[in-house]
């Protein structure tokens, strides 16, 4: 195969586990106890339907493919997240790095930008270490702040208001005079001092070069900002596009709030509206700017939700955790659009066709990035490890490879 490998990856992480039935695997013909009485809508791809709450994505289904047969065994948030992010089951004495840290590390060999190769908008997943055993250098830049506010303050990169370039320069001039402790007698201390100074130079290059402007969303036309939606997810994805343009290899947009144990349908409808608009605008904009072919976009949560609705109190129309069968979206970067991989049974409870294991899904992303998932995982302490466990029987998503 001669196609070019993807340059960047954008992960849209639906933290909490969104329902497969109200996203990409609707079951309009199932009993109301399963579909809540809701419908599917056609997309611009013949024969492909998605849930009625995703009308914008329905208009551009040719840009992405959906997998309806994701499956694994972990029903708790942390262990399922670990599995979906690392391709491995928890335990065994190692804490492995997440896909973002691995790809960022591999791609950083060729990435020349000043921003870290792994950026997270806007909050880290938390209670789960993305870097595993890779160490501090692989750690993502977590932006904090709110891209939908007047000024998107990325703590540390965007200076506090009131600091002008001149007053910043004055400070550094004074610092150069006052930072006078300087070891001469031990090469260990000399190397520590050098690392401190080098890190300072790298940091200044970020704040004073073009990198900081990436986060200045006011440079975007008002019309473009509205197209994504004036929501946190909308403006986060707009920032993600700017980060792709800048060249950052791995960008994660964490979208919390999908853990709808109670009053699932109210939550799901609200979350779907904002997310649908933002993701559709993002994919369309990426396509228009010619970035989609070289950028992989993937979206899913750590699992799906229990197909049978809990109508009774205290759930009042809720869905629990469900990992046996759920859906994922993948687009761009050498993946075909407009396809459906696998299928679930009539209620969305079990995989009916072509199961896709987490390591198959992640392995496909690695392959499209030009990274061999069966190659060695660097820095695994003393232990020989491959990037991912061997692919499952049905294997990676070759049917989607362009």
């Amino acid at each position: 195969m001669t196609m070019k490998t993807a340059k960047s990856v954008v992960e849209i992480w639906l933290w909490g586990g969104p329902s497969q039935l109200e996203t990409f695997d609707p079951k309009p013909n199932a009993p109301r106890d399963y579909n809540g009485g809701l419908k599917a809508i056609p997309t611009n791809v013949a024969g492909m339907e998605i849930h009625e709450w995703w009308p914008q994505l329905a208009k551009c289904a040719d840009l992405y493919s959906v997998i309806r047969s994701m499956t694994h065994s972990q029903f708790g948030h942390e262990s399922a997240t670990y599995l979906m992010q690392t391709g491995r089951l928890p335990g065994g004495g190692e804490v492995c790095p997440a896909i973002g840290a691995v790809i960022a590390q591999q791609k950083s060999k060729t990435y020349k930008g000043d921003l870290p190769p792994f950026v997270i908008l806007t909050r880290a997943k938390g209670r789960f270490s993305e870097i595993g055993f890779l160490g501090m250098e692989a750690a993502p830049l977590v932006t904090g702040g709110n891209p939908n506010s007047q000024r998107f303050v990325v703590d540390g990169i965007v200076p506090p208001s009131g600091l002008t370039p001149q007053s910043t320069q004055d400070r550094f001039d004074l610092l150069a005079e006052l930072d006078a402790w300087r070891p001469v007698g031990s090469d260990f201390n000399i190397s520590k001092a050098k690392a401190f100074d080098d890190a300072g130079v790298d940091a200044r290059r970020i704040t004073e070069g073009s990198a900081a402007k990436v986060f200045d969303l006011s440079l975007e036309p008002e019309e473009m900002r509205s197209r994504y939606g004036r929501t946190e997810i909308g403006q986060s994805l707009l920032a993600a596009r700017r980060l792709v343009e800048y060249g950052v290899p791995y960008i994660t947009v964490n979208v919390p709030g999908w853990d709808s144990h109670k009053r699932h349908f109210e939550t799901m409808k609200r979350k779907s509206g904002d997310t649908d608009r933002a993701v559709a605008a993002f994919l369309g904009d990426m396509k228009d700017k010619g970035l989609l072919d070289s950028t992989i976009v993937w979206m899913c949560g750590e699992f799906g939700r229990t197909p049978k609705v809990g109508w009774e109190a205290p759930w009042n129309g809720g869905r629990g955790h469900y990992a046996r069968c759920f859906s994922a979206l993948v687009a761009g970067g050498g993946f075909k659009g407009g396809h459906v991989v696998g299928a679930s049974d009539e209620t969305g409870s079990n995989v009916a066709k072509r199961p896709v294991a987490p390591q198959d899904f992640l392995g496909s992303i690695y392959e499209r990035c030009g990274i061999d998932p069966d190659g060695p995982l660097p820095n695994a302490k003393g232990k020989k490890m491959t990037l991912l466990p061997p692919q499952s029987e049905c294997g990676r998503l070759k049917e989607l490879y362009i």
Binding site: P90, L174, G185, I206
Partner: protein, 475 residues
């Protein structure tokens, strides 16, 4: 003690081009590699005596950071520096060893090693974290010997909520005889799992063959029990009698590593198994009093937790540690210092950024010790840090030289500079430093720029000081 016992393997100076001070507009000279002598024009006398040993102001900060997990207050630093007592090092050491701060800080260190966290991937569960933390705290506070403590852990039975020691068997990545063999080797013999041979693992796991864990009727309670012969007493005999030298060497390596990092290894094993005695020997050794400029005392970056406590206490901030799991949510009291946070699962972005260990493996290298560009971005530009610096500057208004609040008279500008130096660096500014800052002030007044107003310039000074190596490193 024999001072050679703790002798560091001194590394030789390798020279090199050393183009390492590359901040723009740096007016100071590069170090002279040929003579290996510190540049006297920079006033190195602040940090090092002519014989290469550390000055009092370096020692007081070093002692507080190593033993109490904090920097001294202005008053504490001055009391030490101005004291004429020839035994002041020893007396400060003893008072710190007896302090609550010592217990808090060293408990944190041992909780790192024993992987005290409620959730993934250790999953102790909050109630068990709190009892286990309290038990480890008792070990530090009462200076229980390492083998007695080890025996209590290794032979424990009962409930994870009531018999704290059984959490040793739960705070592992694998709860089976092989996992416990690895935890034992790592904790008491200093052998990480990656270096443990198959036969070593097998030899150790035999002793745990009959150890089992079962659930009780209480939510998340687990009972560690022995089904059959309990072979663990024999394991303790093997470890703490037959292999006593190995155990004490591993313990020394652990404690020594916390002070000296990876630099140098302790030369001779004294079979000391009491933490406080071991620290006494380290602190009173000649190596510990070396300077870090030409003396070669290895620097280390301040722990994330300690740094957070410094910014919060000087900046008048409260913490708001909380945990969303399990419901109902856990909220720690706002005055809880970060080094006292029991649960490794309760964290925040600052602590992650500055290298707090995840407590996933308990290995010493889990703690981040390299300065990163992201850390320096925070120190340069963080909005939260700027608010804290503003409060430090505001508090310098009401101090005269003796440290007493004076509300009637405004504190003169140079005294306010002194106050900020004492608070952040535990020393007074050198004449050169004081002059530099006063010159900037005079010039700003003449040109009527922003820094003519003292708080504006003092804010810049405080910002500069927390961005120095002297601040971020324990030198």
């Amino acid at each position: 003690m024999d001072l050679n016992e703790m002798k560091l393997t001194r590394r030789t100076f390798l020279g090199g081009t050393a183009a390492w001070t590359i901040l723009p507009n740096n007016l100071t000279a590069a170090p002279n590699n040929k003579t290996k002598k510190p540049d006297k024009n920079l006033g190195t006398a602040i940090w090092e005596k002519p014989d290469g040993s550390a000055t009092d102001s370096v020692m007081v900060r070093r002692l507080y950071l190593d033993l109490a997990g904090r920097i001294p207050t202005r008053e504490e630093a001055q009391a030490y520096v101005y004291s004429a007592n020839p035994n002041k090092l020893e007396s400060l050491m003893e008072s710190l060893l007896a302090s609550k701060d010592f217990t808090d800080y060293w408990t944190m260190r041992f909780c790192d090693v024993l992987r005290v966290k409620s959730e993934f991937p250790i999953n102790l569960w909050p109630n068990a974290v709190y009892v286990y933390h309290a038990r480890i705290r008792r070990f530090v506070e009462q200076d229980e010997s390492w083998d007695d403590f080890g025996r209590a852990l290794l032979t424990s039975q009962g409930s994870n909520f009531r018999d704290a020691e059984v959490n040793f068997f739960r705070a592992t990545n694998r709860r089976d005889p092989n996992g416990w063999a690895e935890a034992t080797a790592q904790t008491f013999l200093g052998i990480p799992p990656s270096e443990l041979t198959a036969s070593q693992r097998a030899n150790l796991s035999v002793f745990f063959a009959n150890v089992k864990i079962k659930n009780s009727r209480e939510w998340k309670e687990e009972i560690v029990y022995v089904d059959g012969d309990d072979l663990r007493d024999r394991l303790c005999e093997r470890l703490f009698a037959d292999k006593r030298r190995e155990v004490s060497a591993a313990f020394l390596k652990l404690v020594h590593g916390w002070i000296f990092g990876t630099c140098g290894t302790p030369r001779k094993n004294s079979e000391e198994l009491h933490l406080k005695n071991m620290l006494r020997k380290i602190v009173m050794s000649k190596e510990y009093s070396q300077g870090s400029i030409s003396g070669g005392f290895p620097v280390r970056q301040l722990d994330a937790e300690v740094l957070d406590d410094i910014f919060c206490s000087l900046g008048g901030d409260t913490r708001n540690y909380q945990s969303p799991a399990p419901e109902p949510f856990t909220f720690l009291p706002p005055d809880r210092r970060t080094i006292c946070v029991e649960d490794g699962s309760i964290t925040n972005g600052f602590l992650t950024l500055f290298g707090r260990p995840a407590r996933d493996t308990g290995l010493p290298d889990e703690r981040g010790t390299e300065v990163t560009a992201k850390q320096r971005l925070y120190l340069f530009n963080s909005g939260k840090l700027h608010q804290q610096l503003n409060r430090i500057v505001a508090s310098s208004e009401n101090h005269n030289n003796a440290g007493n609040p004076t509300s009637s008279n405004r504190t003169p500008f140079p005294k306010r500079v002194d106050d900020i130096y004492w608070k952040l660096l535990s020393r007074e500014p050198s004449p050169r430093e004081r002059q530099l800052i006063v010159n900037v002030w005079q010039k700003s007044k003449a040109t009527k720029t922003k820094r003519a107003n003292p708080p504006n310039l003092l804010r810049d000074v405080a910002w500069c000081l927390i961005n120095t190596k002297e601040f971020l490193f324990r030198i």
